[in-house]
């Protein structure tokens, strides 16, 4: 009899445990461990002039229009720089999510440029954790101004510039990203003996999201001493990213006239302190050239 009572006493426990399971059926499957890629550390693949941690996605073409007005210290006579403008038109294409290539042409010094960017580390959380993203950037530039002195012997190689840059960064939170970019710029021809052909420096850049679609960006290029002429200043730019669907508008202030590595790193002559500041904008418009295969609806 006692045993029977025990049974009756126990049965609610058993039923109870059964019932408790029904409260959350999904927990029966256990927690799935997935790896999540940390994306969108910047709105586009440029901070302002610098390349950002982001790549153009595979199969996507990104048409870039870069524009820099003259400097603010031109005063009212130059309408604070608006009378002058320098432009760069560019096309970036994502061969894959990891590899982006690009071509561009700047009106400043009539320069053509090309780059390859390989993102070899992607920040991720979850099962496979990776604290940082990292990319290798290789660029080259061909300056096509007429020779200043056609009588001397001029070499085509004197027009060439190369940049090697490592970009390492982390999206610390939804709104804050920081990256550093150790850089080497090689110039085949320099103006004086005092200038080095190889120039080393490190860039630092960050972005702070002000809202879902607006971000504040800043970038600064530090050069090791005694490599470039005395009148060369470090490049400093501050601006906003404004994203509207397929476009990203970047509005900024910068002391660099050039929009490509060899230019803003080794040829920035204006200083913020003297009002040598350009107002400028970049417009990025993306086109999906190769659509990702839609998943089979019968899966």
């Amino acid at each position: 009899m006692k045993h029977a009572l025990l049974c009756i006493l126990f049965s609610p426990v058993l039923f109870g445990s059964l019932h408790a399971q029904e409260e959350d059926l999904l927990s029966l499957l256990g927690e799935d461990e997935t790896t999540e890629m940390v994306d969108a550390s910047f709105k586009t693949n440029r901070v302002i002039n610098f390349h950002s941690l982001e790549n153009t996605a595979g199969g996507v073409l990104d048409f870039k229009i870069g524009h820099r007005f003259g400097t603010l210290n031109g005063g009212a006579y130059e309408l604070f720089g608006l009378d002058n403008a320098s432009i760069r038109l560019g096309l970036d294409y994502g061969i894959s999510d990891a590899v982006t290539v690009g071509l561009g042409r700047s009106s400043f010094q009539k320069t053509y440029d090309g780059f390859v960017k390989y993102k070899f580390l992607r920040q991720s959380t979850g099962k496979k954790e990776m604290p940082i993203s990292a990319a290798l950037l290789l660029t080259s530039a061909i300056q096509t101004l007429r020779w200043p002195d056609p009588d001397r012997e001029n070499f085509f190689s004197s027009r060439l510039y190369y940049t090697t840059q490592l970009i390492i960064g982390r999206k610390f939170s939804e709104s804050f990203t920081l990256q550093i970019s150790p850089t080497m710029v090689h110039r085949n021809l320099v103006r004086t003996n005092a200038e080095k052909n190889d120039v080393y420096g490190t860039g630092i850049a960050g972005r702070f999201k002000l809202s879902k679609r607006i971000a504040l960006n800043a970038e600064y290029m530090y050069l090791l001493p005694n490599q470039v002429a005395d009148d060369i200043k470090p490049s400093l730019s501050i601006g906003f990213d404004i994203e509207t669907g397929g476009h990203v508008f970047q509005l900024h202030f910068t002391n660099s006239t050039s929009m490509i590595e060899k230019g803003f790193i080794t040829e920035t002559t204006n200083a913020w302190a003297d009002g040598g500041i350009h107002f400028g904008f970049n417009v990025s418009r993306v086109f999906t050239v190769v659509r990702k295969k839609p998943l089979n609806a019968d899966l």
Partner: protein, 185 residues
């Protein structure tokens, strides 16, 4: 008396055992949605959704990772996660509900049943009561369920800026397809 105890214990064991076997699950349910406007057609697919169905009680639950939705365009996917669904803050969408006329589903007999499912849909931090018709098909020991329903973007506090309001439908068509296998535990 002893026989009685043994019977009771046996009954409990059998009942318990039957209770687990009556649960069905999948980790690869296909959830898709379609936004259709004259300007733009958008669709996204997720084939890694979890679903558990308890045949004994008629309860059914789904869980879908927002980041698992794949779009044709990379930028859409980025905006979907970053601007609209805010998947870092709200990583999952869940549905926990009840199949109303579940008793007519016999897992031992192949056949199709039209049922009504209703329950709570939770996504983007908002929980809403929803109900939809679904087709449950028993086929060789598996339970295949599929359903199509509409959800209103505004119900889940997903803000659409006026600039793109003509590109994104106010009502989104959602389809769910799941092939559930017995959960052995």
């Amino acid at each position: 008396m002893k026989n009685g105890i043994i019977l009771t214990v046996l009954f409990l064991l059998v009942f318990n055992g039957k209770g687990s076997a009556q649960k069905y699950f999948t980790k690869s349910a296909h959830v898709a949605f379609y936004s259709d406007t004259p300007i733009e057609k958008i669709e996204a697919h997720n084939t890694t959704s979890n679903c558990v169905f308890d045949l004994a009680t008629g309860r059914i639950e789904f869980s879908t990772l927002i980041k698992g939705f794949q779009f044709e365009k990379a930028l859409m996917q980025e905006h979907f996660n970053e601007n609209y669904m805010e998947s870092n803050a709200f990583p999952k969408a869940t549905f926990k509900g009840q199949i109303e006329n579940y008793r007519k589903i016999d897992p031992t007999k192949n056949g199709k049943h039209v049922v009504l499912v209703s329950g709570d849909m939770n996504m983007h931090g908002v929980s809403k009561k929803v109900s939809a018709q679904a087709v449950i098909e028993v086929k060789d020991g598996t339970i295949q369920s599929s359903s199509t329903f509409q959800i209103a973007v505004a119900d889940y506090k997903v803000a659409i800026p006026s600039l793109v309001k003509d590109q994104i439908a106010k009502s989104i068509k959602v389809t769910v397809d799941a092939v559930l296998k017995p959960l052995s535990k």
